[in-house]
Amino acid sequence: MATEPALETQVLSKDYGSGRGLFDLDLTISRESVFGYLGPNGAGKTTTIKLLMAMIRPTRGTARIFGLDCQKDAVAIKRRVGYLPADLPQFGGLRGSQVVAYLAGLRGGVDKLRVKGLAERLDLDLGRRFREYSSGNKKKLGILLAFMHAPELLILDEPTGGLDPLIQQEFYRLLGESRANGATVFLSSHILSEVEHVCDRVGILRQGRLIRVAELEELHDIHFHKIEILFDGMPPLEKLGKVHGLELLVRQGSHVSFTLHGDFEGLFKALTGSKVINFSSHEPSLEEVFLAYYREGAPATAETAAAAVPD
């Protein structure tokens, strides 16, 4: 049914023990969207992808692609999916053209002209042996293999690692064209600028758990502000320490810097009576937002931060 989401998981889990794996993933990705799956190394991105591709079995939960069960209907699903693993395996002495012919033979129905077009756009010489390929060329070959049959769903694990900027742009154009032709994209990455560049929605994974799914703009709402203030005299540390949402306060003489979650009302009240020489506030990049999500340990409160201020 065309109304089915492209991808849907319910309580999808893979428990490797010792807290490693993927836990209770509930995720729905609508058709013709580009979903960015973010997380640091070991967060569970590749585990999720291997579950979707039926390479590994879930400990519990289900995953469906186009309404089909990922485990039971794996072959039917793979007819409609293009997959790029994080690392392409070694094919030693085979030439790129032979690797393509072999995998296209397994799939069947691959248009040679489309392969030619992709190879030209990616500037990939298929006449060379696989072992002679650089890591960037291996990645290009992986992209070609994922796109060669014009799939309805692209599952791409860290797709741009090793690509030079020009080819990255070509890859983004390919993604855009696929999407314009009705394809859905599930893209795992730890490169935030890449996700910002191509995705509509983003899921953030941490230690095997999905901690946030949001539209790209929505994700900015959880932003904090990075604020720096230069006072004429001693900063009002006691008042600042009581401001709701203020964290990571650092003082150097009459200069303070901190992050602020939420609105500015409490901060402005705290500044009443103090002479401010300079006040700057800027929105952090998605990268900084992301890093804030992954900062180890409990976030520092304004109180503890104030207590840690050096003289």
Binding site: V81, Y83, P85, Q90, A101, L126, L145
Partner: protein, 540 residues
């Protein structure tokens, strides 16, 4: 760097030493059973052994006093060690010279500040130490067997042979190490290096056969080693020849180091300029790559052709000496029991072809099947299976295609070997009909599939252990089959050998019970492999 080199080499050292210890102790222990206990029996044994040895002089040296235990083990044990060294040095030096580089280890070591000469020199040193250890342990095991038989060997002779073998090992290793610098992959290094060593080995062997002593034979390091026979009665180490081996090895290692210093990491020292050609953007039109099963065969085409060529050569050789071997067995009283066990004394040459030739073919076919299983395990571990399964391919199809490709590979080998035996057998006074060849060769297919499917099942659970365990079983089975009757081991022990299930169909017809058992195990292995691939996790 010593520990690193040892870590890279210890499996080879342990494996070859184990084989050497088993071979040495068994040959020494078996001597009395084979040669008899009376002076007359031993004299007859000596005469027959000398006649047989002249027939196989291109493999083993001409023995000295084979009627004595010391002369016999000098011939059968120490005379065979150069073959071990040939194979081991090829595998080890191509791995050290190229394999580690392909795996990225050399790059990491160089980045860590290890000087290039040190890297190679430690590998050479560890291999030479390993080969000395192998020769010493095998010599001591032979000595233990000889003492048990009441004819102890000369310890100084064993030490002398150990040193001579170490020198030969260093030289063989250095030759392949130089080759590895000149080419750009481990496979080519192993192929070219191994072929070069084999050519040098047979140069010496042919010189022995035709009693040629001209200058060309001095090109072969095996000739230098041949000149020492310190374990044999009245024998000695040829110290100048041994010293010459060491000097040649040192010079070749120096050349290898020089080439390694001058070349790029990952590149061959000899690299012709790449031919200018326009880039290619289209997939290959090779139809084999697009067809199920044929694609698998295409991927292993070089190896398969090498296996066929190797087994055909071996079959030609073994069949060409079948008459001599048969005569040796028939005229050696100690071999009567063995001859009876392998097929009887009527038509001895036919018995030898049916038992020894086909049994060795069976052993080698099993090893071929295990190399194929090792490829399957590597496909899984290195991610190629994952990429295949990311295509719309049911998992059972992967197993079906693999087994079908294995069956075709085995069938091609069996056909080629049968044809070779059929062509050469008349020169030994034996004519084989098509029915004979089908009867003897047909069951081999079931054995090949047995090792393939059981190996695939084991590899699914224990990918690192499966090939080693099955390979050890093949080796132990062969030893049981060959030595059990000679040493009068109990029937239950002989029944543990898979070769017992094959019997000698050329002489006594197909062992249907054994064949059915093998087929049943192969089918069960196939079923288990199908079941396991459905359930197992890939790339986790």
């Amino acid at each position: 760097m010593f520990r690193v080199a040892l870590r890279q080499s210890w499996i080879g050292i342990v494996a070859v030493s184990t084989v050497g210890i088993v071979a040495g102790s068994v040959q020494a222990t078996a001597f009395e059973s084979v040669a008899g206990t009376t002076a007359a029996a031993r004299a007859a044994f000596g005469v027959q052994t000398m006649a047989l040895a002249r027939q196989i002089a291109y493999l083993l040296p001409i023995p000295v006093h084979p009627e004595t235990l010391a002369g016999y083990v000098q011939w059968r044990v120490f005379g065979g060690f150069p073959l071990y060294i040939l194979i081991w040095a090829t595998l080890s030096a191509s791995g050290a010279g190229r394999g580690d580089e392909e795996g990225g280890l050399v790059g990491a070591w160089l980045a860590a500040g290890v000087p290039r000469p040190r890297l190679l020199l430690w590998r050479v040193a560890v291999f030479v130490l390993g080969s000395l250890l192998f020769a010493l342990l095998a010599g001591l095991a032979t000595e233990a067997g000889a003492m048990a038989a009441g004819s102890p060997l000369s310890i100084s002779g064993i030490l002398g042979e150990t040193i001579a073998l170490g020198a030969l090992a260093a030289c063989c290793y250095a030759i392949v190490l130089v080759v590895a610098q000149l080419v750009d992959t481990r496979r080519v290094a192993g192929g070219v290096g191994g072929a070069l060593l084999a050519a040098l080995f047979f140069l010496n062997g042919i010189a022995r056969t035709v009693d040629y002593q001209g200058p060309a034979v001095w090109l072969s390091p095996f000739h230098y080693f041949d000149r020492s026979d310190a374990v044999a009665p009245g024998g000695s180490v040829d110290w100048p020849a041994t010293a010459a081996l060491i000097v040649i090895a040192a010079a070749l290692v120096g050349l290898a180091v020089l080439l390694f210093l001058r070349r790029d990491v990952g590149a061959a020292a000899l690299r012709p300029p790449a031919a200018s050609r326009p880039p290619r953007y289209t997939p290959s039109i090779n139809p084999m790559l697009r067809m199920p099963v044929l694609a698998d065969l295409y991927a292993q085409r070089v190896g398969l052709v090498a296996w066929i060529a190797g087994l055909v050569l071996f079959a030609v050789f073994m069949t060409s000496i079948a008459g001599q071997v048969g005569e040796f067995m028939a005229k050696t009283p100690g071999m009567a029991g063995y001859l009876a066990a392998i097929g009887g004394t009527t038509g001895v040459t036919r018995t030898v072809i049916g038992s020894i030739d086909y049994t060795i073919t069976l052993a080698l076919l099993a090893i071929y099947a295990l190399t194929v299983v090792a490829r399957w395990a590597a496909d899984d571990q290195e991610g190629r299976l994952e990429l295949v399964l990311s295509q719309p391919v049911p998992r059972w199809r992967v197993v079906m295609e693999r087994v079908a490709a294995l069956a075709i590979g085995c069938l091609l080998i069996i056909l080629a070997v049968s044809l070779a035996i059929a062509v050469v057998a008349p020169s030994q006074g034996v004519t084989l009909s098509t029915g004979d060849l089908v009867r003897a060769g047909g069951p081999l297919l079931a054995f090949g599939l047995l090792f393939g499917t059981v190996g695939a099942t084991l590899a699914a659970r224990f990918p690192r252990l499966a090939v080693g365990v099955l390979g050890a079983y093949v080796g132990a089975s062969y030893l049981l089959f060959q030595l059990g009757p000679l040493l009068r081991w109990p029937a239950w022990a002989l029944d543990l050998s898979v070769f017992k299930l094959y019997g000698n169909p050329l002489v006594s017809g197909i062992e249907w019970t054994g064949l059915l058992a093998v087929t049943a195990i192969a089918v069960a292995g196939f079923g288990a492999a199908l079941l396991l691939i459905q359930r197992r996790e890939v790339g986790s």
